[in-house]
Symmetry: D2
Subunit: 142 residues, 4 copies
């Protein structure tokens, strides 16, 4: 059991129904943030930096959304379903936009391929967690 | 002219159509992030901290969404409309949720009233910018 | 009186001795974060982006340090002096490094000049707040 | 090989001398940020929340410093040694302060023990990376 999972289990009000999905989404968001920051810096160092401008931008947007989403999910004692839905949708969209941009460059740059893969994983876990949430604005039932 | 506005004007590809809305949304998101962090810390110091748990949580969620939104808006050279829409919706929802929680405590605590007001301003500027964006996923036209 | 100042005054344990310095440092860090993010995006859009790589990087480092510093200062009920000292020193160093890099480009780009000025303001307020802190690791006296 | 390590290796200017230390420090900062956010939320949910105020605060300070440090380290193409030194010192101090506070509560709360352990790991990797950096403000040699 990794430390993040152990931590989720140590929370006085641990999430019952969505435990696995929450742990997976947290891990994916955290990884995706780091990979995006690294991809932006790698793109910036490439000879063809001018062709990678949009990749650098969207990498940073995606990193910031992933960071905000991971922190929100960590504060999981009394999740606000309307906010979780909107945030997971925004994070999934950031991952889709970043993945689409990275895909254009992944044959030339391994960092763009790795980033596209991390975005795809993160988008998938966000959508899976989103589908597990109840409709409407009520608090997530435990 | 404040520094942020001067900066927007110094950008090689300054936003034409949405200049005022972008400047206002940036100022409101930045203010709201700071006010939310301050409100959480003030709540934490109150004698009745146990009754303010959810306010402290949602303050932090709102601060993180506002921070991510402000940074995305600052990177405004080639905005990705689908991402801007999803992010502005998430930020507006965070402001609504935080405002609703702060409203419960604002008669007792001035910091909750100030935070509710900052959230309301931020929610309004996010929705105004959102409505100015084109439909669909196309790039925002300049 | 602006909202941030009003908020500092609404805190149940408002900072007595360092009130002005704290308010100024908060304002400068918040502004500097935003200006650095904007400068990075503007640099990225310039034709000579390849010559601005290091400016883009250090802009982002400086933005992240300013953001962390502003949040720490907002949590001012019981400041940990050793942590405040180390963080203010790191933020001041980020501002110095970013200012030095921006200075190389400020004759060509107004955004680099504006960013250098914001960094200089932020560095000054961090050092002024730092000098007002007591020596050693004891809590800041109120 | 995990994704972050793979990513470091895909960077056009991968760090030669400090590769292992950079990878370890990145992993430790990222973990510590997440654990601190989780610990703050868990503390907030405990019956004795009033006794955990300072733990909640310092958890957040530590999370913010770890986040800024991880991002700076990811931008490792041309590290600014003076900035890396100051930032790693600030992050190590945040970890020490957070560890000391969590230690007071770790016999009662597993989340505080896990957080103290994550802070100790992070502090150690920051100091190890710091000691590997050259003196003065020169760029880190590759």
């Amino acid at each position: 059991m990794d430390t993040i999972t152990e931590m989720l289990k140590a929370h006085p009000k641990r999430p019952h129904g969505h435990f696995e999905r929450i742990a997976q989404c947290l891990a994916a968001c955290t990884e995706c943030e780091q990979i995006c920051i690294a991809c932006a810096d790698a793109c910036l160092e490439e000879d063809e930096v001018a062709a990678l401008r949009q990749c650098i931008r969207i990498d940073q947007d995606c990193a910031d959304l992933c960071a905000a989403t991971a922190r929100m999910i960590q504060r999981q004692a009394h999740p606000d379903a309307a906010l979780w839905q909107a945030t997971l949708l925004a994070c999934a969209q950031a991952c889709r936009s970043c993945s689409a941009e990275c895909m254009k460059h992944e044959s030339a740059h391994a960092h763009c391929r790795l980033c596209r893969e991390a975005c795809d994983r993160c988008e998938r876990t966000c959508m899976e967690l989103l589908r597990a949430l109840p409709e409407g604005g009520a608090e997530i039932t435990h």
